[in-house]
């Protein structure tokens, strides 16, 4: 299906027939997996393809992914699981505990498929289930056909269903994607906004609260104070106005993008993280300081593992614990108290035992006897490349031997995949381990969890 036939030479752009003002300068696309976590579950359970599916957060607390079918039953996104349980049981909604190993692996598979189809430099991974695509190389082609082809390829190779929005800017591509997701059948999950007319129509039907980057509070303000109801209304404002009322430079950029002028160029993929955090809910409330120390030690070694994988070292470690609030029955969202502390290390390090020690000491400082805790986390920041670690006046330079030891621990853990080598502080029982009652097998990362075929 060809929507627009455009013939253009290198610098001369000919508008498509019947449309005024073609805006085919540097088209961008956003590809977004449909209810990604649910889609991952469906890959291995095809009979759920047209059935309601939900995925729960760590600890089976909240609903973090739902399919359209579940949405139509009134299942709320981010709502507590127990509140949705009557509906879930009545309509037999397929329910899964989160299986991040599987989701992470399939995400990699989807992103790599895109890189293979479009070229590495044309894909900017935005989140676990979204990526921006640069379609400059395909400027003269049939963009709808191209996007449809990408969608079908991803679906065929990985089993994951995606929606694609194509437009001259990232913000407009988001608008297009939104339209595709809303009407999956009529749009075939692909919407291309490549003429002024199409863009204007799309913006007129987009409430301002659905524009990428405009939060609920801003949206309310825009509606109430400025009578800006749709994205189209917003494009009638000046940059001066946007600077004043839409958050300064960010607002100007947003306005430019909505008007079809690209202000957010493709970013080079950020492979090296600036901060590494590991946080989990406990399976049940924890009262004992040693249990918390054990958990924090484990999180620290996990975080240190991530740190070494990207060849960084950290000079700041912070630990936080969340105690259960006293009147949690009244307000489950504001009943919890988070306390955190951090230390700055004399020298940046990536070695687990150098990080565990301060982390465990921080727990001593944070823990209050008599309180029950439900969550803890470790954050490593102040990251620097590992090879530039230099000794300072008071601490001697790192020995290379330690680094070698850590690499060995990582390699063994990676191949055995069960944290066989652990630091003693991590304990052996792990009472606080996450509750994951309905987790599906890790089909793609564990030999012993492959699916069976009769």
């Amino acid at each position: 299906m060809i929507l627009t036939e455009i013939s253009s030479h290198q610098s001369v752009r000919v508008p498509p027939s019947g449309a005024e003002g073609a805006v085919r300068l540097g088209m961008k696309a956003i590809i977004d997996c449909n209810s990604f976590y649910c889609s991952c579950e469906r890959v291995f359970k095809p009979h759920l393809d047209d059935k309601p599916v939900i995925v729960l957060s760590n600890n089976d607390g909240c609903i973090i992914s739902r399919t359209d079918e579940a949405k139509n039953l009134g299942v709320q996104m981010a709502g507590p699981y127990f509140m949705a349980k009557p509906v879930i049981e009545k309509y037999n909604v397929a329910t899964f505990s989160s299986n991040y190993n599987l989701y992470g692996d399939l995400s990699w598979q989807v992103m790599d498929t895109l890189r293979m189809v479009l070229g590495k430099d044309n894909v900017e991974v935005y989140s676990v289930d979204e990526a921006f695509l640069n379609l400059d190389d395909f400027e003269n082609g049939d963009l709808f056909g191209l996007a449809l082809n990408i969608r079908e390829t991803v679906e065929m190779w990985t089993g994951i269903k995606v929606s694609i929005g194509v437009a001259p800017t990232k913000v407009l591509a988001k608008v297009a994607n939104h339209m595709a997701k809303k009407n999956k059948i009529t749009t075939q999950c692909v919407v291309v906004l490549d003429t002024k007319q199409k863009i204007d129509e799309a913006l007129q039907s987009t409430p301002v609260k659905e524009v990428w980057g405009i939060g609920h509070q801003y949206a309310q303000k825009l509606v109430e104070m400025f009578a800006v109801f749709t994205a189209y209304d917003l494009t009638k404002k000046t940059e001066y106005w946007a600077h004043k009322n839409l958050g300064g430079v960010v607002g100007i950029r947003l306005l430019k993008e909505l008007k079809g002028e690209s202000a957010n160029e493709m970013e080079k993929e950020l492979t090296v993280k600036k901060m590494i955090a590991t946080t989990r809910m406990f399976g049940h409330n924890v009262y004992n300081i040693n249990d918390i120390k054990e958990a924090v030690a484990t999180y620290t070694s996990k975080a240190a593992e991530k740190l070494r994988r990207q060849k960084s070292a950290a000079n700041t470690i912070s630990v936080f614990v969340v105690a259960k609030g006293e009147n949690h029955n009244i307000d489950f969202r504001h009943g919890n108290v988070t306390k955190s502390r951090y230390v700055t290390l004399p020298v940046a390090t990536s070695s687990t035992h150098e990080l565990i020690k301060p982390a465990v000491q921080l727990v001593d400082a944070l823990f209050e006897k008599g309180k029950s805790y439900k969550k803890a986390g470790v954050m490593l920041s102040g990251l620097v490349p590992d090879e530039t670690i230099q000794g300072n006046l008071f601490v001697e330079e790192k020995h290379n031997g330690k680094r070698l030891l850590m690499d060995m621990v990582d390699n063994v853990n990676f191949s055995m995949r069960n944290d066989i080598i652990k630091f003693a502080a991590s304990g052996t029982k792990r009472d606080w381990k996450m509750r994951m009652e309905m987790r599906s097998p890790r089909y793609t990362t564990r030999w012993d969890e492959l699916f069976s075929v009769k």
């Binding site: 065929m156 190779w157 191949s415 012993d448 492959l450 699916f451 069976s452 075929v453 009769k454």
Partner: protein, 149 residues
């Protein structure tokens, strides 16, 4: 099965490395013959982005060289042709069979002369899905040992 895990990691070490001193002035002719090492995973799964793995349970495809516990290498990107071994999703479960297209009909054909499993004629109501095409079969010899010896 642990060997396989280590085997997977082996590719880290499979970079060709020639460890001899190069005499100045006269290049060694051996340098011209350095090749990439044989890498089995590339042969078994040339298309890693669309490749999945599963275990075979049961013996309905024994005569097609698929004993129980064999690992099936499945490529989702290949369109099944008549005569291919496929993993199909049928009645809420996975099955591995030959697929046969004949006179506008589709059949799932087992391969076990002794046990005579039935040929399944696929009808519309069955909602059969060809999940992927089996491209390779990996058999650990432990699973096919001769117990009488």
């Amino acid at each position: 099965m642990n060997q396989l895990i280590f085997y997977k990691n082996l590719e880290i070490f499979s970079i060709p490395y020639i460890d001899f001193k190069i005499p100045a002035g006269f290049p060694s002719p051996a340098m011209d013959y350095i090749e990439e090492r044989i890498d089995l995973s590339k042969e078994l799964a040339p298309h890693p982005l669309s490749t999945f793995y599963a275990y075979c349970e049961g013996d309905s495809m024994l005569d097609a060289h698929i004993p129980p516990n064999a690992i099936l290498v499945i490529d989702k990107s290949i369109e099944a042709k008549s005569g291919d071994i496929v993993v199909a999703y049928l009645n809420g479960g996975y099955t591995v069979k030959y697929i046969k297209f004949e006179a506008g009909k589709c059949y799932l054909v087992p391969a076990n002369k002794k046990k005579k499993y039935p040929v399944i004629e696929v009808t519309e109501e069955m909602q059969m899905i060809v999940w992927g095409v089996v491209t390779n079969i990996v058999i650990n010899t432990k699973n096919v040992r001769l117990c009488s010896l």
